[in-house]
Amino acid sequence: MKLRVRHVSRYVFDAPVKRLAQSHRLWPAETQGQSVIQWSVETENAVTGSGFRDGAGDWTQTVTVKGPVSEFTVTAEGLVETSDTSGVLRGHRERVPASAYLTGTRITGLTAELRMAAEAALEGMDAASPLDRAHALARYVSDHVVFAPNRTEPATTAAEALEGGEGVCQDHTHVLIALAHAADIPARYVTGYMLSTEDSQGAEASHAWAELHVHGLGWVGFDAANRCCPNEYYIRLGSGYDASDAAPIRGIVDGATQETLDVSVAVTDSARQSQSQRQQ
């Protein structure tokens, strides 16, 4: 499948800022499941720094803008050929050992409730295969966190999201990471794009899911919000411990001001004219 992506992030500042700096991870890596035909990241008049591939296999680059800046737009777009690998991440060149993803952050940190949830999810599965256990955890998250926009915040923790029983793909992902950690399975946050279908959840700015490290298979993606594993409808951008660590754009401005961010992501099947997502 050939997916065309246009991902625009527009920042508007109430008062002009003196300087803006962002770290970008906006380039899909080459893996068995995806091959980049064309890709570009436009950053208007920003100065770009040398890019490099980090240990997790993600291309990383800095941009800075000397102020006064009142608005700034980042546009990532291109064409990626995808195939279905049943969620298994193959051919991704990375060097960070899986065991580095066994520890939680402030957002994914374990609580007694999360541990109990992991136990409940895996009840009677002691003899099950690692892959089946991972599926059971993902299923548990799908069953216990209902997709509901605007009920959680970016800073909502995994424990809070599970307790509230509602959230968006970011929350599903954080809860699944935490449950995996409770079961001693390395897990991480993955950002990317998804071609939405009629019944898919997570029509957000950009999509997110979890990868669990399954013994014998390596990293396997689980999209608990959509009760599936990433397939040819997905493009993988980058990974991290949690949403903040994995963010495709991490930025900071010099000068106190209110910032409005308008993100629009359009993913289309290049063979057909199709769906677009837009969200404020």
């Binding site: 770290s23 240990g55 800095t62 960070v96």
Partner: protein
């Protein structure tokens, strides 16, 4: 002078005989009238106040305005003693660096089964962002502080390694400076190896790890969290001595491939940053997003070879308590050498033989919980009563894997001025090893002394002071 206490190694006295290295000093103190002594002690205090060196050693906290007591009686090492220490310290610094280069790359030592993977990758100090990064010359810890104690003529133990930003070197330099000013005659009568080469050695070390992209003489800066940091004095002191800029995060910015310093003549490129702030605060775009102390984008410039950060982020994984046990193994694994300096022997109660030994010798050992900290759940055998020892015997039997034990270390003593003249007091030592193109060690270090009689605690927050540390020239 009284005979030395046989339980502790006395660095000046061998029985009742004064060791050769201390003969001049013994005569010096014996001939010093007591009124002159108190005058000099007062003068020393004035000098320390004037230079402003009042910060807490090793960031122990406490009153930042408080002066740490300076004891005028120097601690002396002979050239022979120092030669062995120097080899051991350099060896250890080399092994720690080799370990860091390895665990962020091929992880050979883990593959070889010498160190369990989880101790490294699940360690808080492990930085995922550094995996696969190769800093200039593959050096990760450029200033290694190794804390040592002495228990016998030839017996030294490493208490801990400090691979991040060990502090206290300004005390080493100021203690010497003040001794030379107050007692110039001592430095004529004794041939003492100088320590004032430290600043230029530090500059050479930092310059030698400038990035490949740097042409000409590198621009080096010291990055401080600011004047409210307890070691701010040291940051500005070292910047002065090296003739480099002392900067805070707000003085630097990232643009294009490089990091720049704001100056009145416009931006100036920075090549090497000797940072005295923690990893978490270096760059809000890579680590803590709320850090106000760091430079946004710095880690990307560093990782793409535009600037060098000393020590490398993530270097702390080599000086962690859990890693300490494996340092002698690192020496054998990376250098193919026998370790010259020893770790404090540690008995793992999880091992049957160790456990048997521990249970038979509880009265003499310090027992600690494996994951404990801050002295919680600890048994100090020689100071514990029978009931406490029996309590621990039961605890260890119930959950042996939860406990380790170490011998109670008999820290050596050095004569120290007290009300009645001089008396032996316990000491430790922190030398500062520089690792760049070469591995260098100035002959000296910071000696901390437990000023209270019988105390083994050298921490400045608990009655500790500092001394000048002499290494006699050949």
């Amino acid at each position: 002078m009284a005979q030395a206490d046989q339980n502790f190694f006395n660095e000046m006295l061998n029985g009742t005989d004064v060791r050769a290295a201390y003969e001049n000093l013994d005569r010096w103190q014996a001939n010093m009238p007591s009124d002159l002594r108190s005058l000099k002690q007062h003068e020393a205090e004035q000098l320390f106040r004037r230079v402003g060196i009042t910060f807490a050693v090793y960031g122990e906290g406490g009153d930042p305005e408080r002066l740490i007591p300076f004891d005028m009686f120097p601690r002396v090492f002979t050239a022979d003693e120092w030669r062995k220490l120097e080899r051991g310290i350099k060896q250890r610094a080399a092994a720690l660096n080799a370990f860091l280069a390895d665990v962020y790359d091929g992880r050979e030592i883990i593959r070889a089964g010498k160190i369990p993977e989880h101790i490294v990758t699940r360690n808080e100090a492990f930085e995922k962002a550094m995996v696969g990064i190769r800093p200039p010359m593959n050096i990760w810890s450029h200033i290694v502080g190794i804390d040592l104690v002495r228990t016998g003529r030839d017996q030294f133990y490493v208490l801990e390694d400090n691979c991040r930003t060990p502090s206290g070197v300004s005390y080493m330099l100021q203690n010497r400076e003040i001794m030379m000013r107050m007692f110039p005659q001592l430095f004529v009568e004794n041939r003492i190896a100088p320590v004032d080469g430290y600043a230029s050695a530090l500059w050479r070390t930092l310059a030698s790890v400038a990035p490949k992209k740097c042409e000409g003489e590198p621009n080096i800066v010291i990055l401080t969290p600011g004047q409210f940091n307890s070691a701010y004095y040291e940051h500005s002191f070292l910047a002065d001595l090296m003739g480099v800029e002392l900067v805070e995060g707000q003085d630097l910015f990232v643009e294009g491939d490089f990091c720049w310093m704001k100056t009145t003549e416009g931006p100036q490129k920075v090549d090497v940053i000797y940072r005295r702030i923690d990893d978490a605060f270096l760059d809000p775009l890579c680590f803590r997003p709320d850090s106000m102390l760091g430079i946004p984008g710095l880690m990307n410039v560093y990782r793409s070879g535009g600037v060098t950060i000393c020590s490398a982020p993530g270097a702390g994984v080599a000086d962690d308590k859990a890693i300490y046990t494996f340092v002698p193994e690192m020496v054998r694994f990376y250098l193919g050498e026998a370790p010259i300096l020893e770790n404090v022997p540690t008995y793992q109660c999880a091992k049957t033989d160790d456990c048997k030994y521990v249970l038979e010798n509880l009265e003499e050992l310090v027992v600690k919980e494996v994951h404990g900290s801050g002295g919680y759940g600890m048994l100090v055998g020689p100071k514990a009563d029978k009931a406490m020892i029996e309590l621990f015997r039961d605890k260890i039997r119930a959950r042996p894997q939860n406990y380790i034990a170490q011998p109670t270390l008999a820290l050596s003593t050095v004569p120290t001025f007290v009300e009645e003249g001089i008396a032996p007091r316990h000491v430790d030592l922190r030398p500062y090893c520089l690792v760049g193109e070469k591995i260098e060690l100035v002959p000296g270090g910071l000696t901390r002394v437990a000023l209270n009689e019988g105390s083994l605690v050298v921490n400045s927050s608990q009655g500790g002071g500092v001394k000048d540390t002499w290494v006699l020239a050949e």
